[in-house]
Symmetry: C2
Subunit: 494 residues, 2 copies
């Protein structure tokens, strides 16, 4: 067991080194250096892969499986070590290389197709990518149906059926809420946010906010990048990035809070599992639950802004003249069916995911042709949100995920909302005064609850095990729906 | 041969990955993350070491040595591959680890000793470090005398005797020049530079200057760090750093030009040797010749400032009111015997190096006790520059090098000045109008000359081979001395 752990400590550190390269690539890399960096990435991936598939690790896993009476951490270590090892062993090197090569070209073609609004440029690559992902599902075969196998890569233990039943229930309820809000005659004034906001001041404000949320700048940093992300470069170095839109305040502020939520998770791992195979979030969905909880349930709450709005007004006196904290709060919680997922509000967001989830199922099972996707997308969009993308760039071409072969990833975004609401509900039961504390700028009790119940464990518990432990029941979308109704009906004066 | 090259391409890329870690450590790393990063560094060093000492590489070198008719690049590749391989093979792992561990503690003790101005804190560690370096020299034994073996690590092919004869000649001449300048009754006004200079404006100006010198921001960047340095993170990604002193203009501007000089060398490697064992400067001395040439011969020339001074004046109108370009030029070329090497001017700098070179020889040959060093240092300082350090922090404790075990490194700094002047002399012969071009902001012809004759070759030629090829003779300190006289006598109205 000790030897197995030691091996995985080195693999984890090799992965951290890869993440240093990745972070640098997105934050710093000069334009003319991408090719050389790609070679370095490929070399480091190969070194990590060779370690992971080594006979030594295979042997150590077999030996460890003979042990009885393993404690919680050791059994989780063995489970995750085996999972990582088998995943790498089952996928032939040629397939992995083919996927990697295809992804590079596919990404370029996707960018071009999106720019030119021409799906046919991307179509053959998407076709190839899907074919390769179906092969991946066949090789791994962790579930009887291929789509569940792919989902399992991001959401260990989750299946299509389980998610489908949750999403079905969610869809109906979301439909009702969206209709009700749409019928309101007293809607927020969204234009407050879309004024001109000085970029440097936005940056400084975002740094103050994440500091206020207890992001530890002694063990992390915030930088700027084109696509915001969070990454850990060691168990004591978690970095977030943000982007700034001069004409839209939310991008930077709420983006920073979102990434800060991810980072607080990574920063909260118990020392015992640092640099180990358990040193990360337990699933993409649970990770997303943390970012969305901080972004939406905390960062878009009235009490949060009762504390921060006066500071924001001091920073941007002209933009917020004659605006009250309530005006600002309502503006930041505008609900509006829209075409682009990443710009969607809390309420309609789920529909964007349900659309992709349904399409992915049919794609992976071969029930639809790639060339049919644009039309199917538009139909579903009209069906779910009542709007039809005028171009494919606003529709099927909008997301980067499929170009990289990430099928099965999307559901975790919406699962994150659901997990988050359920965790938050429990947190509020334990600490009914949380929101009162936000008004005073005190956000440490929520963090303490999350650290104690979620963060410290890393991958020790699987997601569904964790939610049962923390909240006493399996994932239940009712909490999220109740949260939406309680929050948004008053905002819309319903 | 192809296989050998392939192996070294991977080793070179592994080293680049290590340099990414190193750059990030100095530019970005949060304070609380150093321990974890040290573990990553150690792991990557071990992986690179294992590759370098592998039987496979030993075998490939032996096989390649049987080949006849290797071209220039291939023979140099074989020579450098063998050098790197043998160096790693000859040093026992335990010794390397002992050195690494000692260096970590030694560095901490050196910092403390310097802060407290107490040599005794550092003394035992320095003693140990010297002992380990003597062991290194014994194991490597590339030259009959141990100090030459250590020098060879930084200046391949150079020996103590060769450098000693050059330095002896230099010392006499420098002595004469320093005395003459000191006797002048019309000295520059140094205080122009030591006003208050806005930090952001200094930064922006330094970026403009290095752009003007043809640093390619498409294949590199400039950042800030405590100690300025240059590093290549791939053959198309060379990064420089600078530091900014609000009360002294030279630190940032001339520091940036210096590092830019290093970077232009690395950016000029011919594509054929990218990512190979030849992808770097041919010696520390030749590398330093490039940085000092750009910093001093170009960056501190009157013609350089004829172009840049109006821009500087526009940026800092208050500081430069009533100052002419000649005033500024003279100020930037003030000569003054001083205690700290890194702050020394062009003329007295050599004396600082000669002092260290003479001491190192005695240290490595066991002719002096470590406890005698402070007094010996002070005596030599008085002897060479006529000033005596009032504290050991201003004397023997000032440099970081010995704490890390870098004995034999110092001579390359002064060799750099000498190489630089000789190269520059040849450049001027080929392009007599260079300085006229500087007045117009055109610095590309010097770069073209250096690219064609020096940069592109990387490690293909050894330093002494290179200088003979480029200038027609072996290293000759007369060129540097003539340059000093021609430049500084007029500045001092002699």
């Amino acid at each position: 067991m000790e030897e197995l752990k030691k091996e995985f400590t080195e693999i984890t550190r090799l992965n951290y080194v890869r993440y240093v390269l990745g972070w640098d690539e997105q934050v710093n890399l000069p334009k003319g250096s991408f090719e050389a960096r790609a070679e370095q990435n490929a070399l480091m991936s190969r070194i990590a892969h060779e370690r992971l598939v080594s006979d030594k690790i295979g042997y150590l896993i077999k030996e460890a499986e003979k042990l009885t009476g393993l404690d919680l951490t050791d059994s989780a270590t063995l489970r995750e070590a085996k999972r990582d090892h088998e995943q790498e062993v089952k996928l032939p090197t040629e397939l992995v290389e083919e996927i990697s090569k295809t992804a590079s070209i596919s990404h370029i073609k996707w960018v071009e197709a999106r720019q030119k609004n021409d799906f046919s440029i991307f179509e053959p690559l998407l076709d190839k990518t899907i074919e390769l992902q179906i092969q991946v599902a066949e090789k791994l075969a962790t579930h009887p149906d291929p789509y569940s196998t792919l989902i399992d890569l991001y959401e260990p233990g989750a299946t299509y059926d389980w998610i489908a039943s949750i999403f079905k229930k969610s869809k109906q309820k979301l439909n009702t809420i969206i209709k009700k809000l749409d019928d309101s005659s007293d809607k927020p004034d969204f234009s407050i946010l879309t004024q001109k906001w000085d970029k440097d001041k936005q940056w400084n404000f975002s740094v103050e906010v994440v500091k206020g949320l207890n992001f530890d700048f002694n063990k992390g940093r915030q930088d700027k990048s084109v696509h915001p992300f969070t990454t850990s470069l060691s168990s004591s170095d978690t970095r977030i990035t943000t982007r700034i839109d001069e004409n839209f305040l939310s991008t930077c502020i709420f983006g920073s809070i979102h990434e800060c939520g991810h980072a607080l998770y990574e920063m909260g791992l118990v020392k015992e599992i640092h640099d180990s195979v358990l040193a990360s979030g337990c699933s993409m969905g649970v990770h997303e639950s943390q970012s969305r909880m901080w972004e939406n349930m905390v960062g878009r709450s009235l009490e949060f802004w009762k504390y921060w709005f006066p500071k924001l007004k001091e920073t941007f006196p002209n933009n917020l003249k004659n605006k009250s904290v309530e005006d600002f709060y309502r503006s930041a919680n505008t609900v509006q069916p829209s075409l682009i997922r990443v710009e969607a509000d809390e309420v309609t967001y789920g529909m964007h995911i349900i659309l992709r989830f349904e399409l992915e199922k049919d794609i992976i099972e071969g029930n639809v042709q790639v060339k049919e996707l644009p039309e199917l997308w538009n139909e579903k969009m009209e069906n779910l949100l009542g709007i039809r993308p005028p171009t494919n760039s606003d529709g099927v071409l909008q997301d980067i995920h499929w170009s990289g072969g990430s099928f099965g990833y999307f559901p975790s975004y919406f699962l994150g909302n659901l997990y988050g609401a359920q965790f938050y509900n429990t947190a509020l039961k334990h600490h009914p005064t949380l929101h009162k504390e936000y008004e005073k700028g005190n956000f440490s009790n929520l963090l303490a609850f999350l650290r104690e119940n979620i963060h410290q464990y890393g991958k020790i518990y699987r997601a569904r095990e964790l939610i049962k432990r923390v909240t006493g029941e399996d994932l239940n979308p009712d909490y999220f729906m109740a949260y939406l109704e309680k929050k948004f009906y008053p905002i819309y004066r319903i």
